[in-house]
Amino acid sequence: MDILAIFISAIFVNNIVLAQYLGNCPYLGCSKEKGVALGMGGAVIFVIIVATLCTWLIQKHVLEPLALGYLQTIVFIVVIAALVQFVEMFLKKAMPPLYLALGIFLPLITTNCAVMGVTILVQREGYGLFESVVWGLAYGLGFTLALLLMAGIRERLDTCRLPKAMAGTPLALIMAGLMSLAFMGFKGMGH
């Protein structure tokens, strides 16, 4: 598939957060500041790419030859969990400010539907290794875009007077819904 078409599809038409409704937790939790959003997006991109790589290889060379396709979910979760632990240790050593900023959300990437969803999606569509990784990168970029857009809006909301009952999570959820509606405009484009 054309690389440009992959990117347009993954970032806009089938955005992993706004169109496929995966990965809501870090989306709502890490989108208060642009810096943190960018950091989270970067971490998710890295985890998705490496996870897609590892899981694709394991699926192709371990699970399919041994006819253990039914173990896909468990095996993928184990691999992703180990990967995220690795990323956490690396961040704590190499980039402590980012580690502190992400806080609880780093281990939450472990059970993040976005990462798990992408690894299973590329298996379902039957892509080759390189294509899968490109799809992973593109989905990660789409996730980062959604986070950045939300962060931009929320930073401006900081200076507004809001009804007390609406401030924080309720408003964030409503905004997420409105953004999803906007992204629905891309539906049917390209294929």
């Binding site: 253990l68 184990v78 180990a82 632990q85 690795f86 240790m89 402590p96």
Partner: protein, 299 residues
């Protein structure tokens, strides 16, 4: 078949563990062991009374920030402050021990209900409509939101109002922020006097609903030689530190001047005065005013 799947998962798990074990050595981060030591010394209640997010937050803040005092933990008391001070090398100034005082005597005031309430048995809910379920819009409602929030089990609802066990109360302030009426106030344990009324109304509006409520006659404000009593936000407020530092020379002119007898000695003082060491076996704590028939019909 099953054997193959078990072995596969086992091998996968083992590989992942080995990689992670190696990585934890390569990426080893030296953490300040003092943070762990301070965390050991703290009571671990995570009550937030220090103003930080849990004991972990306070431990790392007090170790890393030289401006944070070592006696912020009110839950641990003096012992914890000394231990934290020793671990962080900070001198500990004596923190004033506080407790939560209920500024309401609606039982003696015989405050009746405003309407019959059939709803959630919660103060937050009961206070929402038309000034709450009592005729006085500032009273203690007695549904016990504070009781549930207290991390030290120091409160219970007795006769429709909350009663604070001064022995267990650590002054963390959780109940103060939970109370929707602002009836609870953190007061020093040493305090000699207190106003047991929370109302912001004056004169007739108070006497219509409560027999002992504070009417804002301002006699206490005028009679205090230390100028420790003032009217703030339509309530009588006592600057306890000023009062205590002035001493007992005034012979508590404020209490004597109060016509409604709502400006009183605190329970600590009355209990101490009533205690006779010769007659210790027969000593009983003063009882709160008895409930009236109106309160008996409360759901």
């Amino acid at each position: 078949m099953v054997f193959v799947s078990i072995m596969t998962l086992f091998a996968l798990g083992l590989t992942a563990s080995i990689i992670l074990a190696v990585a934890s050595r390569v990426f080893f981060v030296r953490e300040d062991p003092r943070v762990a030591a301070v965390l050991e010394a703290l009571p671990g209640a995570n009550c937030g009374g220090c103003g930080f997010a849990g004991c972990e937050g306070y431990a790392s803040a007090v170790v890393n920030d030289p401006d944070i005092p070592a006696n912020k933990c009110c839950a641990g008391g003096a012992g914890t402050s000394v231990a934290v001070g020793e671990l962080t090398g900070k001198t500990v100034a004596e923190a004033e021990p506080l407790y939560a005082l209920r500024r309401c005597d609606k039982l003696a005031g015989q405050v009746g209900p405003r309407y019959e309430y059939q709803g959630m048995p919660s103060c937050a809910a009961a206070s929402l409509m038309r000034g709450g379920t009592d005729s006085c819009a500032f009273s203690c409602l007695g549904y016990g939101d504070c009781v549930q929030s207290c991390p030290f089990d120091a409160m219970q609802v007795v006769d429709g109002v909350v009663r604070v066990d001064v022995g267990k109360c650590t002054g963390c302030g959780t109940c103060v922020s939970v109370c929707p009426r602002g009836v609870l106030e953190l007061t020093p344990l040493r305090a000699r006097v207190a106003v047991y009324c929370n109302t912001r109304e004056k004169l007739r509006a108070v006497t219509d609903v409560c027999k002992v409520g504070c009417v804002k006659c301002m006699k206490c404000v005028k009679n205090c030689p230390a100028k420790a009593v003032s009217l703030e936000d339509n309530r009588i407020v006592i600057d306890q530190m000023l009062c205590l530092s002035y001493g007992t020379e005034c012979h508590e002119a404020c209490v004597a001047s109060c016509a409604r007898k709502i400006f009183r000695y605190t329970r600590q003082v009355t209990q101490l005065e009533a205690f006779d060491p010769e007659n210790a076996e027969n000593f009983t704590l003063p009882q709160p005013p008895q409930a009236t028939a109106q309160d008996a019909s409360r759901p």
